[in-house]
């Protein structure tokens, strides 16, 4: 019979809509509204996994996101395998494939279970104690073994094919949790007209009301009240109600992160919806109504499949119409389990209840349950459980006030519902940096002093009575919305109150039993006590040593029991031990949700120039320069990089090359004080630069070190066209803005970035003038009228341009600044005009070689933030007459004027074919003892086709004085000898550039 444990009626499932999925390859039948856990239980399956360390059979403990044991691998189709999903959270749907984890060869027969027999060995700190010696075993033996055994589930190997979305939102009141308190809070806040977001992690809003079949609110069944309240909220335009949305992180200034699961529950997700959506909400006020977690009881073999939390038994019966067993024993130290027992009894199941509390301490719930015909054993402890892969009986015994146990009695059963009381979910409050206080009566840490604009309500605050939760929620919601409105609710009284218990009294030898505290990490009470005996007294240390409270559930069910055992062992009251720190996320969040759309092309912006498409079409390879893609070289068929660069270099020196320099940073500096501003920022003089002339400018930081360089043209008396390095554009503009705004606000200057507005087409080589001459109008290109370092405005092919006669190659050169949207057309026209002259496109590699042949520096390559103008031989550019400029005073600092600074030199190798490594270290004497005195390093190194040999630039201590001497440079094969030369390797008189 399908679903033998499905009750004949009841639950919120839709019995008209059957669904089918698989577990370990076998069909599981359920109904719309089931979770994987409830459907498995309806089939009578409790064994769903093996535990982390001992490979013990494990079942379903809980009905919610606190589930530590029932972790499944979920397969939603190709590339969509996700490990470690809690069976109680995954919504059952057609086509899902689920598998159990952590076993071999099968769930039923797991070889790893031998660990359980070896458990006396695997005590707390086992790894630290065992794998210490011999030391050399660590790399080869121990670590590979531990790595293979470690971890739960298998990480997917394929790229995630799903899409994830990201949304920012603002609201006046964010309510976390749509249980009774959260719903009342949202209702109160919404009535004020404020913008409200109500987020709940479950598939349906309602929280505990979803399985409340007994209580009434304001005279009607709780489910009716829930439906009416949801309808009310739904009708309000100012309310956003989000289901399947976990608030997982609470950050500064009420910045709250939420993960919304959009499509996982749909059998046929539409192509456009994302799988998940990350919400980042900035809320003026937050109401935390996230509820509470039930505590397991700590007794021997409390982890057998079939042993659930008591309230979870109630949830499966009432909400899903599933009997977790036919014969259920509830074991409790408090009142709430009585309600679960009543509901199970009402569903027609055989029920008994064992209460640790003496008869006199029990409330009206005792009389009520007995009146229903249920056997109740008060003053009884649980000694242990019987069974193997499913619980078959619970061993109980009366316990006296002295803790002595009486005669054992075996209660046969196929299911146990246990309850050790309740723990408010203070995770988000604690993340918000609020201070927790210990409430002895509730035996729990509850929200104390707030650090942010938030308030807690309901069982998240330790308020367990339904009417009180509703009233408290309403008041919190109203207050968060700035209203003083209050509302009293009437509701059926909730059975509350429990006797705090850490480990159940037992007559067994405590060193012989395994009573689990943390089910996910297989941490027993014995392990925690051992850790304390070994000197781990801080709860944070106990956590890390025993791993209690770690991994995917973060100890939601185990933390209070662990704290209590540590406190008991140290003879301290609970608050004295403190708590471990609560950190985001509250429950696991997929990487996909966090990454969102920032993948592939959207991972990092890519900047391309208007010429990019042309370069691609002409076979360019590209390199990354800051965020830019720049054409690196243009290989012809059969050419390697070396051959292509050699051809491009020769073309520029002998004919003409065309180069895309659009990535250069450009800043327009305009205003009556523009020249004065330039004068203060650059080391050069600017006041007397004529409009139409250019100057190579060098800029320092206040500490005297080179910040950036570039050619600057004076367009008009009050206008400068500044260029910067490709990577330095934003930095230079920020540097200028900083001084302009904060040091010299009196200067009338405007700074505008024009990097993207001007594209730059560089024509370099002896035939450059001949190529552009027929295309340019309005500019006399003759050497006399338009000398080196001049700038003219005119048109090319009818397009307005700023034409610079400048050179970064040492050849006759022009840089055509053209509006970006017309650059491609101009480029193609220039290229066509150049074809009769053999015009050759070249890339950044050739540009680097050509400038190195001339000894031109590149900021960021020859400089590294500790290099002064004099270090690179540019001291002559400093305007002697200027009293001050940024960095000037630092040029006379003692360590800047000291002897022995590293200076720019050229290096040539003895073997002309040998190309040095950039970054290689340089020493004077290879026989000196290690560590050697390193004189400097190679900054640039290339094969120079025009010199017919390798060339290099380097920063070397006192380098200029070492001209002609021999030094030694490191290579992977050892030292090789080099000779120090002048860094200008070609045309030292600069005749070609003025042609």
């Amino acid at each position: 019979m399908a679903q033998p444990f499905r009750l004949s009626r009841g639950g919120r499932i839709d019995r008209t809509r059957p669904i089918r999925f698989t577990f370990n390859g076998r069909d599981v039948h359920g109904f719309q509204g089931d979770t994987v856990a409830s459907a498995l239980l309806a089939e009578g399956r409790h064994l769903v996994g093996r535990s982390f360390k001992y490979h013990r059979p494990r079942g379903i403990l809980s009905h919610g996101s606190d589930e530590p044991s029932a972790l499944l691998s979920v397969d939603r189709g190709p590339g969509r395998i996700d490990p470690n999903n809690r069976a109680s959270v995954v919504e059952a749907r057609d086509g899902l494939k689920t598998r159990s984890q952590n076993h071999w060869p099968s769930l039923e027969h797991d070889i790893g279970a031998v660990n359980d027999l070896l458990s006396p060995v695997f005590v707390a700190g086992f790894y630290y104690k065992t794998f210490m010696w011999p030391r050399k075993f660590w790399d080869k033996v121990y670590e590979p073994f531990i790595r293979a055994a470690a971890g739960l589930g298998k990480a997917p190997t394929e790229a995630d094919p799903d899409r994830y979305a990201n949304r920012h939102a603002h609201c006046d009141v964010l309510v976390v949790g749509a249980g009774p308190a959260g719903l009342a809070a949202a209702l109160a806040a919404a009535r004020t007209g404020k913008r409200v977001i109500l987020a709940d992690e479950q598939a349906e809003p309602g929280g505990a009301l979803l399985h409340e079949t007994r209580a009434e609110i304001d005279g009607r069944p709780a489910s009716d009240w829930l439906a009416a309240t949801l309808a009310d909220l739904d009708a309000r335009e100012n309310v956003i109600l989000l289901s399947r949305t976990t608030v997982f992180g609470y950050y500064n200034h009420n910045h709250v992160a939420m993960a919304e699961r959009v499509t996982d529950h749909l059998p046929n997700a539409s192509g456009t919806a994302p799988r998940e959506r990350l919400w980042q909400v900035r809320a003026a006020e937050v109401v935390l109504a996230g509820g509470s977690h039930e505590r397991p009881l700590v007794f021997a073999d409390n982890d057998r499949p079939g042993i659930l939390l008591a309230e979870s038994v109630r949830v499966f019966v009432n909400r899903y119409g599933v009997a977790p067993g036919r014969r259920i024993v509830f074991a409790t130290s408090g009142a709430s389990a009585y309600t679960a027992a009543l509901d199970a009894k009402a569903a027609g199941l055989h029920v008994a209840l064992v209460d640790l509390r003496p008869e006199a301490d029990c409330g009206p719930e005792l009389r009520q349950l007995r009146a229903a015909g249920v056997e109740v054993l008060t003053g009884h402890t649980v000694i242990g459980s019987k069974g193997a892969k499913r619980v078959t009986g619970l061993l109980v015994a009366p316990v006296g006030s002295d803790g002595r146990c009486g005669g054992h009695r075996l209660l046969p059963c196929d299911c146990v519902g246990m309850s050790g009381g309740w723990t408010p979910a203070v995770h988000l409050f604690s993340q918000s940096r609020g201070k927790l206080v210990y409430d002895a009566e509730l035996d729990a840490f509850v929200p104390g002093t707030s650090a942010q604009a938030e308030r807690s309500a309901g069982s998240a605050k330790g308020t367990y009575d339904l009417a009180a939760c509703l009233g408290e929620g309403y008041a919190a919601g109203a207050a968060a919305a700035g209203s003083a409105e209050r509302r009293a609710f009437t509701a059926t009284p909730t059975a509350t109150g429990f006797l705090p218990v850490r480990a159940m009294p037992t007559d067994a030898n405590p060193t012989k039993i395994r009573a689990f505290v943390d089910f996910q990490n297989d941490v027993t009470a014995k392990d925690i006590k051992l850790a304390v005996r070994e000197g781990f007294h801080s709860i944070e240390h106990v956590k890390r040593y025993t791993t209690t409270g770690m991994a995917t559930d973060q100890g939601k069910t185990s933390n209070m029991n662990a704290l209590g055992i540590v406190a008991g062992q140290l003879d301290k009251a609970l608050p004295g031990v403190g708590t471990t720190t609560f950190r985001p996320p509250y429950t696991p969040v997929t990487f996909g949700a966090l990454v969102g759309p920032a993948r592939h092309a959207l991972f990092d912006p890519i900047r391309t120039t208007p010429i990019h498409g042309w370069a691609e079409a002409h076979g360019a390879l590209f390199e990354n320069v800051a965020l830019w893609r720049r054409a690196w070289y243009f290989p012809k068929p059969g050419e390697d990089m070396h051959a292509a660069v050699a051809r491009e270099c020769a073309a520029v020196r002998e004919g003409v090359g065309i180069f895309d320099a659009s990535t250069l940073g450009k800043i327009e500096i305009v205003g009556p004080d523009a020249a004065e501003f330039m004068n203060r920022l650059y080391i050069n003089p600017w006041l007397k630069l004529e409009p139409g002339r250019c100057r190579y400018g060098l800029m320092l930081k206040e500490d005297g070190y080179i910040l950036d360089d570039g050619v600057v043209a004076r367009v008009a008396p009050d206008c400068f066209h500044v260029t910067t390095t490709t990577g330095g554009a934003a930095r230079v503009l920020a540097h200028m803005e900083d001084y302009l705004q904060t040091e010299w606000p009196d200067l009338q200057v405007f700074l505008t970035s024009t990097t993207e507005q001007w594209a730059v087409i560089a024509l370099q080589g002896p035939k450059a003038r001949a190529v552009i001459a027929p295309l340019v109008e309005g500019i006399d290109l003759s050497p006399e009228a338009f000398p080196h370092m001049a700038m003219r405005t005119g048109t090319i092919c009818g397009v307005p341009i700023r034409l610079f006669r400048v050179s970064f190659t040492g050849e006759l050169g022009f840089e055509i600044n053209v509006p970006a949207d017309q650059a491609r057309a101009v480029w193609e026209a220039v290229y066509a005009a150049g074809e009769p002259y053999g015009i050759t496109p070249y890339g950044t590699e050739t540009m680097h070689v050509l400038r190195a042949e001339k000894g031109y520096i590149i900021v960021g390559q020859e400089t590294d933030g500790t290099v002064t103008p004099d270090d690179v031989g540019l001291a002559g550019m400093i305007a002697k007459a200027k009293k001050d400029f940024v960095g000037k005073r630092s040029l006379s600092r003692p360590d800047v004027v000291a002897a022995g600074r590293k200076q720019l030199v050229g290096l040539v190798t003895e073997d002309p074919k040998r190309v040095l490594d950039e970054g290689a270290q340089i020493v004077a004497d290879t026989d000196q003892p290690i560590p050697m005195t390193m004189l400097g390093h190679v900054t640039s190194s290339y094969w120079s086709p025009n010199c017919g040999r390798s060339i290099a630039m380097a920063l070397v201590a006192d380098g200029r004085a070492l001209q002609g001497s021999t030094l030694h440079v490191t290579t992977p094969e050892g030292f090789i000898s080099v000779t120090v030369v002048d860094p200008v390797f070609l045309d030292p008189k600069g005749e070609r550039i003025n042609a």
């Binding site: 500064n252 900035r282 206040e702 920020a734 803005e737 904060t742 040091e743 000037k888 005073r889 630092s890």
Partner: protein
């Protein structure tokens, strides 16, 4: 994520801003008049208080303007922000304390 109140734009998330270090350190009008010790003090020495710190901030991904802020370095709380050139309502803790 912190909210920072730009004096010109209002509250904006911290990712829109860049911190520029200690505030109210004016560039000397005549640096050449300073001896090496005084210049190095100006260049390199900054307060690192445990408490209220006056800092320069720039709303780089917003209005682009520099302003100043008092921030508590213990709680990371911004006490106030004010335009460049204005004075804060209280003085910062300039002493570096252990």
């Amino acid at each position: 994520m912190l909210l920072i109140a730009c004096p010109h734009c209002g509250n904006r998330p911290e990712t829109e801003f860049r911190c520029g270090g200690q505030a109210h350190i004016a560039r000397p009008t005549d640096p050449a008049a300073l001896d090496d010790a005084a210049w190095s003090e100006h260049l390199f020495v900054r307060a690192n208080p445990r408490g209220v710190h006056a800092e320069r901030w720039c709303h780089v991904h917003g209005c682009g303007r520099w302003f100043n802020a008092l921030r508590d370095t213990v709680s990371d709380r911004f006490i106030e922000t004010y335009p460049a050139g204005a004075e804060p309502s209280r003085s910062p803790d300039l002493q570096t304390r252990a």
